[in-house]
Amino acid sequence: MAPPTKQDFINKLRLEKFESEQSKAEESLALLEHIVANASWQTGSELLTLLRNVDIEVSAKLPWETTPRNMVQRALKIVVDEYSSCVGGVSAMNTSGHHTFPQVTMDPTGGVELPKCDQALPDLRDRVLEALAEYRAELEQSDELIAVQGESKIHNDEVILTFDWCGLVLAFLTRAAKKRHFHVIVAEGAPTYQGHRMAESLSRVGIQTTLIQDCAVFPMMSRVNKVIIGTRTVLSNGGIKTDLGAAALASAAKFYCVPLYVCTPTYKFSRISGEEVNHCGSGSAIIPINTPLPSSVNVAVSKFDYVPPENVTSFITNNRGIAPSYVYRHLSELYDPAAYHV
């Protein structure tokens, strides 16, 4: 197999050849491991710069692809941590130098430069690779860890509403179905109609499923006990950016006071606030190519939808449930504050 390169990875992203965010995460991790193992670097700082270049390139060309950027940020934190523990303490310091209050924020201002890791340590490469391998194991287990929580979150005779296709939510519900008996309503998710595939998979494991139109979400909501969806990105303010249709779903849930749970592994938590993650699709998604439509009619096809933090009840992640107001704190545990470039 050819060694992964940055250019190939970005091209694959651009042509949308990945089937899910999980595969994007795994391949970006493979690329980062390749850089750590094979690129020529001597000091920690050089490695940090190399890794951050991946982030910079992806954000310049495809700003809405947050998963690879989050993986880079995580890798940067791993490198800084390994460096600090190698050197034994305070060397990887913020370049601003003064008595810094530890940054627990959504959008750091201190230290636009990377932390200084100037000492050349011989075993840094191995230690970083080891830590990245551990992270890879965690990544591969995250689906399972989330699915396992299904049993405790869903009770007998409940009506769950979900939306479009999400492999994680499918695993979550399948696991719960082993012990509980409940009913699932699936919104079909036009124009891709992936909801049909979801309904089929759910009924195959013996769950009673109903398929509804996206516009029927509001009238159905009064009968629903819980809404469980997946997402593409979790924003730093606790909101989410996900496939079109989720915002209406979330507003309906808020109106009827139905809790909305979002199943998301930790690599989807990103440090952006939202505006940059916008992408438009081609008009042919909703209007077939040869349809006669006057050219004065503009066809706008958006890909993402924003759900504000007030409409989300909780995030179900690998380790535990996280409230939207706690997301900023979780980000400071996952990523290094100094390593984010504005």
Binding site: H99, F101, Q103, V104, T105, M106, P108, T109, G110, G238
Partner: protein, 306 residues
Amino acid sequence: MKAFDISTFFLQQMSADDNMSPAIAATRALMESLRLDDSTTLQEFIAKMKEARESLSKTDVSVVSVSSGCELFLRFITLSHLELEQAADFASCREILLRRGEEYVNTMQESRKRILRSSTNLIKTGMVILTHSRSRNVLAVMKEAAKNGKQFTVYVTESRPDCSGQRMAEDLRSCGIPCTVILDSAVGYMVERVNAVMLGAEGVCENGGIISKIGTCTVATFAHMKNKPVYILVESFKFIRIIPLNNSSLPKSYLHCASILNSGKDLGCEHPLVDYTHPDNITLLYTDLGVLPTSAVTEHLIKLYT
């Protein structure tokens, strides 16, 4: 003698630089009195510093931010530090305290720049912004955005009783930002036209609520009701350790200036200077520590005060 010096020094600093926050002027005054101080023991020194702080809060300038800035300054310099414990005598202690004081004042003075950095993406072209009264931070961020070529419109409330909104409008117009002064009572009428509300604050409470010029509560509550985002631009030295339950539980020293409290007038007839805005009405706080949700304030306060 010293108490007299510190108040006049403080007021001199305030009149010399209009853009300086009162809290920074107050800490500078404290630094000056630290330099001139002739105490021989740490106890005496701390007692004198406390006296100095008391006399500063008796001036008629914004008590909320001044007392918070001074409190943090004193904590920062006297915080049990390894060096202080190892110092041989009080003279070397004083050296250390002076140095830490200088560091702290320098950091404080950088805080506005850091707020500018964290709010670079806040104002977008075509935005219509509503602001209340005259906040130095809001003014700085708007000037920066105009300098970077963003085109936006501003509505400023007149902000009685001192009509500082008029001054804000003049300052904005001098930078080429189109702005209109509106009556305080016209906020309800205008909110539907604006995209966002940007406000300053005199103090940030532990629960994330803010204490700010009278009228802020109205603007923020109404904007929130109409689902407009409310952004507060404030430095971290204004974080204070109180949690007011409502507007009636604000301390009198915040509501009225010192000269009125001392003159024995009936406070029921005096108009309050500040009000309290509940954190539910605030979307985000743009501070020098970064962009914080209201739930993050308590954590930062703990870090600042320990």
